[in-house]
């Protein structure tokens, strides 16, 4: 099934149900664990506690302690153990309580998981999913509020997914678990409780990794975003429409491999683009999109690419400063108007 076919289903198929992102992720894991005995989940508090954010609710009861494994607080160790288990023929899902803690394990993710297929001349392969909440939550300060999208998307050998809706979260997580390569799956804590009416109940339904989704069509300006920022971009598009600007909103969904074609196709139509992300500006996803537009769509651009990003600071704790540090709808609207030369 292609992405476009699914869009048709979204309009017509009554089998789509409404679930929170949390429930959709849980269902995705449960379905894949039922389908494939080699799939198992490990991480801190995933089993008896049912997940620090309750994403793995009920999985221990359903699959038992062999396949839902509580780890000690030892990210470097259990990430490496997961890589070894993948080399040994299993398909681990390694949950980081948050991706902030994956920095303890980043050597295993990049040097061991991502590079070994290449270093082995194609012999090894590492079918593993590293998943967990990424980016800022709310008022948790600098060490717990960081977006790792560009960190991992930088590295060949990895796939990096960051979904927005519940339906995408489920279908892409299932795709990630089935994928023979290491996949970094970036969720968002603030989205866990948000419900979407786009969740397929078909156990065989997966989405292709590497395909963006045009969530709103428009002719005047392209907005690209992923994860929670898709919601902000859609809000901004509503506001822009009130001012007569029709924004096209692209949900990137996968950051590596990035669906450059869909972005170019949009820019050919709109001639203007704003990239939105919650992480830092320097060498971010937006920087990459700006460079790609220079390389592939320069002749179609009527304005310089603009980036709306998080502020270039460690995340502050104070409510007002945190608000200032994160991209808001106002700043997206402002940037979109700027590339349209409207004030």
């Amino acid at each position: 099934m292609t992405t476009n076919q699914r869009e048709d289903i979204l309009m017509t198929d009554s089998s789509l149900i409404t679930l929170s992102v949390r429930e959709a992720l849980r269902d995705g894991m449960a379905e894949e664990m039922t389908r494939d005995e080699t799939v198992f989940l490990m991480g801190e508090e995933v089993a008896e506690y049912n997940g620090a954010y309750k994403v793995s609710q009920g999985l221990l009861d359903q699959f038992g302690s062999k396949r839902v494994v509580d780890t000690p607080i030892t990210e470097h160790g259990f990430a490496g153990l997961g890589v070894g288990a993948a080399f040994g023929g299993l398909r681990p899902i390694v949950e980081f309580m948050t991706f902030n803690f994956s920095m303890q394990a980043i050597d295993q993710i990049i040097n061991s998981a991502a590079k070994t297929l290449y270093m082995s001349g194609g012999q090894m392969g590492c079918p593993i999913v590293f998943r967990g909440p990424n980016g800022a939550a709310s008022r948790v300060g600098a060490q717990h509020s960081q977006c790792y999208a560009s960190w991992y998307a930088h590295c060949p050998g990895l796939k990096v997914i960051s979904p927005y809706s519940a339906g995408d979260a489920k279908a892409l997580l299932k795709a990630a678990i089935r994928d023979p390569n290491p996949v970094v799956f970036l969720e968002n804590e603030l989205l866990y409780g948000r419900s979407f009416d786009d969740v397929s109940q078909d156990q065989d339904y997966v989405l292709p990794i590497g395909k963006a989704l045009v969530r709103r069509e428009g002719k005047d300006v392209t907005l690209t975003a992923f994860s929670i920022m898709v919601g902000k971009a859609l809000e901004a598009a509503d506001r822009l429409a009130e001012e007569g600007i029709e924004a096209e909103v692209i949900d990137l969904r996968t950051l590596r491999p990035l669906d450059v074609d869909t972005i170019i196709e949009s820019v050919v139509k709109t001639n203007r683009i704003v990239s939105i992300e919650e992480s830092w500006p320097f060498a971010g996803i937006g920087s990459e999109i700006a460079a790609l537009m220079m390389e592939h769509a320069f002749d179609y651009l009527d304005a310089p690419v603009l980036r709306v990003t998080g502020a270039d600071v460690p995340m502050p704790y104070a409510a007002n400063l945190e608000h200032l540090a994160l991209p808001q709808v106002d700043s997206i609207v402002e940037a979109a108007k700027a590339v349209c030369y409207r004030t």
């Binding site: 160790g77 295993q108 194609g122 796939k159």
Partner: protein, 328 residues
């Protein structure tokens, strides 16, 4: 010496140790000639450790180590041609020239690398053991490290998980007394690496890594323990590398006398040869036949490593992902 060592087993062990020795000597020459480049860590002096361990393993067992890995690969029965050709960066190498000395693997021989980051192989080996237990295949993973790696944090994270979940893993510490240029006395508070699992109840023992029989007996105890479901085991082998840390290390941190003393009095191959002749009454001409065969095998590997073509330029963009990666 273990009584269980038959003449056939002894001849194989001698052959495997000698193959490693001669292979590494040739690798050193090829490095000097510029045919091998980059990092290249020779195993000369430590041969009894891998050969002794390998001699007690079962077909389903898995092996993983760090970057001083040529000996491990040859002991696992990987083809010397493929190993040497990888050292010269040729398409006939185990990684088709894309891995090099530190990054070789063989799924067929259950050798899982070949890892360049000190200590990183230890949790990976623990994961291989996790897979053995999960699949219930009665396999054991041998996860080797040096005295240097033994101070990495992830080693202790691994000990904890392996003990907690009773994973079938044997941690092998090849204590060659120097982590690069830093002696164990200068790197480690408390030099008994085999005892470092005590806090988790992991049994450990130290054996003379220059004496094949001692390695073999210790390895048998350790693998029996792990295979029986009792969990991990730590083996420390007292050994020595004759060459520098890597080819670029002149090894000025130790005296010539120290090195010569080991070579003359503790060489693992000399020791085992004497044992074969004096105790097992193996005839000199049988040993000579092995010497000749090993020499020939290594020369063939050298020739192959020189004549195997470099990888095709198109190989630059293969094996990044399981599927072909479209160029942007």
């Amino acid at each position: 010496m273990p009584k269980s060592l038959t003449e056939k087993e002894a001849l194989k062990a001698y052959r495997d140790m000698l193959l490693i020795r001669r292979f590494e000597e040739r690798a050193s020459q090829l490095y000097g000639m510029g045919l091998i480049a980059g990092f290249c860590h020779l195993y000369i002096g430590q041969e009894a450790v891998v050969v002794g361990i390998q001699s007690v393993l079962k077909p389903q067992d898995t092996v993983i180590t760090a970057y001083r890995d040529h000996g491990h690969m040859l002991a696992c029965d990987m083809d010397p041609k493929g190993v040497m050709a990888e050292l010269t960066g040729r398409s006939g190498g185990y990684s088709r020239g894309k891995g090099g000395s530190m990054h070789m693997f063989s799924r067929e021989k259950n050798f899982f690398g070949g890892h360049g980051i000190v200590g990183a192989q230890v949790p990976i080996g623990t994961g291989l053991a996790f897979a053995h237990k999960y699949k219930e295949d009665k396999g054991v993973c041998i996860a080797s490290m040096g005295d240097g790696a033994s101070n990495q944090g992830q080693v202790y994270e691994s000990y904890n998980m392996a003990a907690l979940w009773k994973l079938p893993v044997v941690y092998v510490i090849e204590n060659n007394h120097y982590g690069m240029g830093t002696s164990v006395e200068r790197s480690s508070a408390g030099p008994n690496y085999y005892g470092r699992g005590q806090g988790w109840g992991i049994p450990g023992e130290k054996a003379d890594g220059m004496i094949l029989g001692e390695v073999r007996e210790a390895a048998q105890r350790a693998t029996d323990h792990a295979r029986s479901g009792k969990g991990p085991y730590i083996l420390e082998f007292d050994t020595y590398r004759y060459r520098g840390h890597s080819m670029s290390d002149p090894a000025k941190y130790r005296s010539k006398e120290e090195v010569e003393d080991v070579k003359i009095h503790h060489d693992p191959i000399d020791h085992f040869k004497t044992y074969m002749i004096e105790t097992l009454k193996i005839k000199e001409d049988q040993i000579k036949a092995i010497d000749d065969e090993v020499k020939e095998t290594v020369l063939e590997a050298v020739e192959f490593s020189k004549t195997s073509p470099e990888p095709d330029p198109s190989e630059l963009y293969t094996d990044i992902l399981k599927e072909k990666v479209p160029l942007q």
